[in-house]
Amino acid sequence: MLAVKNLQAGYDCLQVLWDVSLAVEEGEFVALIGSNGAGKTTTLRAVAGLIKPAAGEIFFLGRNISGLPAHLISRLGLSFITEDLNLFEAMTVRENLLLGAYSQRDDRKVHTSLDFILNLFPILLERRNQLAGTLSGGERRMLALGRGMMGTPRLLMVDEPSLGLAPKMVMAVFEALKVLHGQGVTILLVEQNVNNTLHLADKAYVLEHGRIVLQGASAALLEDPYLKETYLGRR
């Protein structure tokens, strides 16, 4: 579904990605892990169209999307939940969700999605008329997730959803991702929390200094000595 080939990208004068190649098949739960500054967010941004790749190609559903503007990529069915969430603070939960389905013209389908998401995340149902800016950290994450799901995307990319959350909320977020995956959503997850992530994902890519250094099925990676030592802190 998503194929990234030899991606090079960066910001202004700073190149961050040197050679990133990864693939996500339909229905998979793929993780992109690495430490701070490895380039995980940059990768997602390049795929989502927020930054232009310097080199390499990105294919989504068979189409070459490298260089397309972000809003068009979003309309193709690629949803990106950023680390900052980019919520519309002065709008209600409901309005935020409705905007998630912006590209959907059919009003009925929009409301079907809305009902579905509100059911999936009861917190959101409860706070649907509350301003997004007044929600707590975990609730905002849920809203961002819900909003990202409103357009019934083919691929959901999530950037560090557990960052800054209390452990209980972290579990809730991962639960939500699991549920979504169970519903058939393809997910590309970027995380620093390697242990939890590997237990959730089917396969993973490890990014270091802008390059993929390790990849494979999660189960295999969990046994990999390099990974264990570097990211799990055990021999």
């Binding site: 989502a48 927020l50 503007p69 972000a70 809003h71 979003s74 309309r75 949803s79 990106f80 950023t82 900052d84 969430l85 980019n86 919520l87 519309f88 603070e89 002065a90 709008m91 309005e95 409705l98 905007l99 998630g100 912006y102 590209s103 909003r147 990202g148 357009g151």
Partner: protein, 297 residues
């Protein structure tokens, strides 16, 4: 103070304030969504005035139709300006956006005023009135023109409000003003929204110019006063705050009415300046707070 005087001041103040609100809402919208300090806003008022003049006085269109044509013309003018100037600015000049955009509008204002002057000369192109009638409000005789202008302002503002609150595109506009990246990722085409917003703002200004034609004739520098007034309102109400601009416009209208009555023309300007100074001292974010990133650097 005599009750009838208060009524008088209130009514004239509100009538004037309605038009201020109309102009200011357009300005607040452009600032809130596009982060542009629009100094050419008055010129779109003038475009509306000129078009309405030609439509009504030269082509003999019915007043309402003339005003609508003027509104459409200003909408178009705004859209063209945005595509011609701000779109390239976004593409080519990634630097200090606020400053550069502001300077661009300053240049634009000069250019448009020169174009008006060179095309139509320094003549005042006005009409005596659209409707030869007065209406009685609270025992005062008020020209129908004024009342209709106020009515148009109300309808336009109300329409805009509904548009922003209830429609998908209106919601998209609000989204862009709050978080551009979030809007992009939701599939919203930023360029299109920005063109639309600027066109809307210009249309509102043009409506003002067209409906007030009998009171304020069209001539090249006719945009200066509306520009000053709308910036005054927007600063007092809070930069980028659209709802605040509505209330602020009405308040400023009444304020000016009262201070004009009490102090006379010359000192009324001083009173406005004093008000502005007091506001910046105590409530720089405006009476209703700004909707833009922050007031402090």
């Amino acid at each position: 103070m005599d009750l009838s005087i208060i009524q008088n001041l209130l009514v004239t103040g509100l009538l004037r304030g309605g038009l201020y609100a109309l102009m200011s809402v357009g300005l607040a919208l452009v600032f809130g969504v596009m982060n542009i300090c629009h100094f050419a806003h008055g010129e779109y008022y003038v475009i509306g005035a000129y078009v309405a003049y030609f439509a009504y006085a030269l082509f003999g269109l019915n007043p309402i139709l003339a005003i609508l044509v003027a509104a459409a013309a200003s909408f178009l003018a705004g859209a063209i300006t945005e595509k011609l100037l701000f779109y390239p600015l976004r593409k080519f000049n990634k630097g200090e956006w606020v400053m550069n955009a502001f300077l661009l509008t300053a240049g634009l204002s000069t250019v448009l005023q020169s174009i008006f002057r060179l095309s139509f000369g320094m003549k005042y192109m006005g009409i005596i009135q659209y409707w030869d009638a007065t209406v009685s409000i609270f025992g005062m005789n008020i020209a129908v023109d004024r009342v209709v202008a106020f009515g148009i302002a109300l309808v336009a503002i109300g329409g805009l409000w509904l548009f922003l609150r209830r429609t998908r595109t209106g919601r998209a506009i609000r989204a862009v003003s709050q978080d551009e990246r979030g809007a992009q990722l939701a599939g919203i085409d930023l360029n299109w929204i920005q063109t639309l917003t600027f066109a809307l703002g210009s249309m509102l200004a043009g409506l003002g110019g067209a409906s007030l034609l009998s009171l304020s004739p069209a001539y090249p520098f006719a945009g200066n006063k509306p520009l000053i007034a709308s910036w005054f309102v927007v600063t007092i109400a809070g930069l980028g705050n659209v709802e605040g601009a509505i209330v602020g416009g009405l308040l400023v209208g009444v304020f000016e009415s009262v201070s004009y009555y009490l102090l006379g023309q010359g000192w009324q300007d001083v009173a406005s300046l004093v008000l502005l100074i007091l506001l910046l001292l105590f409530k720089p974010a405006g009476l209703f707070g700004t909707r833009v990133k922050s007031v402090w650097e």
